[in-house]
């Protein structure tokens, strides 16, 4: 199986003042059993940049995204958001970071026991304080 073999970057309104990247992935490795999915992925995304990850089916695109949001833990390497390594964070600490992120699932992952309105309101209701 190939790893991610192509990354395209679109330059948006990237700041050119040398600010640190918002998201930094360094030498990320991830395997499931004997199957190596990510083999030393590194990337950095600055504020205002848009990064598209392209690759054939089953090359690790979804795994990379899951690692970035902390739904999986890497075998080695690091994922830093605003300089903070998220791998060792407790669930509630990770939640503080996730509140600032938006994530769309490939198959929508709607809460099928709730109405559309309740789905939309779900994070809002749980984070009102």
């Amino acid at each position: 199986m190939d790893t991610i073999d192509q990354v395209a970057m679109k330059q948006g309104e990237a700041e050119e003042d040398g600010s640190a990247p918002v998201l930094t992935v360094e030498d990320l490795h991830k395997s499931f059993g004997s199957q190596k999915v990510l083999n030393g992925i590194s990337l950095a995304v600055k504020r205002g940049e848009t990064l598209a990850v392209l690759g054939r089916s089953s090359t690790g695109k979804s795994v990379l995204l899951r690692l970035v949001v902390g739904l999986e833990k890497p075998d080695s390497g690091s994922v830093r958001i605003h300089g903070q390594d998220i791998a060792g964070l407790a669930l509630d600490q990770l939640g503080a970071i996730r509140k600032k992120m938006g994530f769309l699932f490939q198959h929508s992952a709607l809460y099928d026991s709730l109405t559309v309105e309740q789905n939309v309101a779900f994070p809002l209701q749980h984070h009102k304080s």
Partner: protein
């Protein structure tokens, strides 16, 4: 592909899961709305089934005990035999097994279905603690509801035990209660009833654990539901062995 875990690996994963649930349960924000919803789902919706099972048990006990006691010339002890059997053992264990079948399967299947459709991941990605929202609420609801359901099973068992005896040999409910509870005290009633809180912990914990670690699509959902029922029923029975011994030691 599904790979069954070794017992040692399973028990360590269960321990880690239990620790995460406990930590989530004792830290705010608390999910009271979901807790009340689960109290209704597990408690009030299991009530008819538990009551029916308790009633059937009372009938069977009355018939069997009458036959046995008559053989040994101890028919007068029938009310006490029914009362003590129901309150000490059959009420709690029947309640535990019925709830492990109904609620255990329901929890296991629901959470497994959420797992395979990435709904639990979506909850996590929304910065909501899934252990607090999904597992802690269900486990706590099981712990709180089992003793109450046991009371219902005991009541139905005793009433039907009386009805069964009265059909064969007329006896008033007042006489039945007096004879049955003669010599009984709270030590005969409270420990066996509250041991079902431990049953609730077992049922909730195993069902949530099996559901939230499901893999393998629809087949995985089926496995989670089945294993929730089988494992929780087995461990309820094994726990009963230990708890009965502890009750005898601490509440002689």
């Amino acid at each position: 592909m599904y790979h069954p875990m070794e017992p040692k690996e399973l028990s360590s994963d269960l321990g880690i899961f239990f620790w995460r649930v406990v930590r989530a349960a004792v830290t705010p924000p608390f999910e009271f709305r979901e807790l009340f919803r689960q109290l209704d789902e597990i408690g009030s919706k299991s009530l008819p089934l538990v009551a029916l099972a308790g009633a059937a048990t009372g009938v069977v006990l009355s018939l069997e005990a009458r036959y046995s006691l008559t053989r040994f010339g101890a028919k007068s002890l029938l009310p006490a035999a029914i009362v003590f059997s129901v309150i000490h053992e059959t009420g709690p264990i029947i309640t535990g097994l019925v709830v492990s079948g109904r609620a255990g399967a329901g929890i296991g299947a629901e959470l497994a279905s959420m797992k395979v459709t990435e709904q639990i991941d979506a909850i996590e990605a929304s910065a909501v603690n899934s252990y607090r929202l999904l597992a802690a609420t269900r486990i706590l609801a099981c712990i709180l509801m089992l003793p109450l359901l046991t009371l219902a099973a005991d009541f139905c068992g005793l009433v039907m035990g009386w009805v069964t005896q009265a059909l064969v040999e007329p006896v008033s409910l007042h006489q039945f209660i007096n004879a049955g509870f003669n010599g009984a005290d709270f030590n005969d009633f409270l420990p066996p009833t509250f041991k079902t809180a431990v049953f609730g912990l077992i049922i909730g914990l195993i069902a949530c654990f099996q559901g939230m670690r499901t893999q393998g699509g629809a087949a995985g959902v089926g496995r989670a539901a089945t294993s929730s029922v089988v494992l929780s029923s087995l461990f309820v029975i094994l726990a009963d062995v230990v708890l009965v011994k502890l009750i005898i030691i601490f509440f002689p």
